[in-house]
């Protein structure tokens, strides 16, 4: 039975761009965007990784390059192993990778979510619309430069907006977000603490 490591060795022999990737659990590789579909197709057709379990986007930080990555987890239902495939987006302003929806139809909604939350476009996707936020929402909420509380925008329904005069507002954080300090044996010290990004009527929101 060929293993994930054998598959990765074969892939590295075939495409010079395929590199090992640091990983604490499953074998992982970095792939250049140009070879992505060929590598994923080879994993599926030649090495038995027939199931795509996850497509996720990563925003490393503002100012880093490459800023955005897309990570695929493929699973072999015969070998019972995962392989993690990561691809960096070349353009930090308009990140784009080819769509895997032609290989696995299940990639469709995963890629729509990555597009919605990170603004990563997937070339060749059959129907690249937002999946969580509404059509016409101007931001990508999981990007590092988007505040948790949100940014004031209009609601999608113009008639309701005209009637209620209500739009999406930056949520009042009221002392939050609350985070537990990790690694503390003393439970009192480990209690969730407010990072205090709050603003109220009395203390207005600082300019972002």
């Amino acid at each position: 039975m060929p293993t994930a490591l054998d598959a990765i060795a074969a892939l590295k022999g075939k495409w010079v761009g395929v590199k090992d990737r640091a990983s604490l659990d499953h074998p992982a590789i970095n792939v250049p965007a140009a070879d992505l579909l060929a590598v994923l197709g080879s994993l599926k057709a030649d090495h038995g990784f027939d199931m795509l379990t996850d497509v996720s986007g990563v925003d490393w930080a503002i100012g880093t390059s490459p800023r955005f990555s897309v990570v695929y987890h493929v699973f072999s239902t015969t070998g019972h192993e995962y392989v993690r495939v990561s691809v960096d987006c070349a353009d930090d302003a308009k990140p784009q990778v080819p769509s895997a929806a032609g290989l696995w139809p299940g990639a469709d909604w995963h890629e729509r979510e990555a597009f919605d939350m990170f603004g990563i476009t997937f070339a060749g996707h059959p129907d690249l619309r937002r999946i969580l936020m509404w059509d016409g929402y101007p931001y990508h909420p999981l990007r590092k430069d988007f505040p948790l509380a949100g940014i004031e925008t209009e609601l999608p329904d113009a008639e309701v907006t005209a009637e209620t005069k209500v739009g999406a507002i930056a949520a009042p954080m009221m002392g939050g977000p609350f985070v537990a300090s990790s690694g503390e044996l003393n439970m009192t010290d480990a209690e969730p603490r407010a990072k205090d990004e709050s603003w109220t009527e009395r203390r207005p929101k600082p300019d972002a």
Binding site: A168, A171, G176
Partner: protein, 169 residues
Amino acid sequence: MVSANSELTYNSKIEGEVIVSRADAVINWIRSNSMWPMPMGLACCAIELMATAASRFDIARFGAEVMRFSPKQSDVMIVAGTVTYKMASPLRRIYDQMSDPKWVIAMGACASTGGMYRSYAVLQGVDRIVPVDVYISGCPPRPEALLDALIKLQGKVKREPSAGKLLSA
């Protein structure tokens, strides 16, 4: 010689088939005892809403067992759960489609204030887009709390000047 009627109750032999009351009392009695809910189940509060309708808590004791999924046939919208901004517009449209008189119960922390979702995606209280009559605390509230809210709403309906509103409409 006329003897005073000492009976305090309605006596059909004396009064025939006529009951005298105030129009407000009659209208409000009818309205408050047949409030058909529009179950706006959006999150886990909807499970408690279902429990309230089921046999153990039996919302039918208060005349509100007829969950109507058509806004035209419902009187009270029970907003049970987290209202996202994406859902806010359809919620307001459904409220607009309900025929008057209509009431709103905000069930649970999320519907009342946004709850723990201080986030870009969640409407911070359903009272921003629809007028709320009764708020219920809890995350989620117990079915008894929803029944209490329904009783409170019935009490509110019974104090409304319904006949005057009907005549002036």
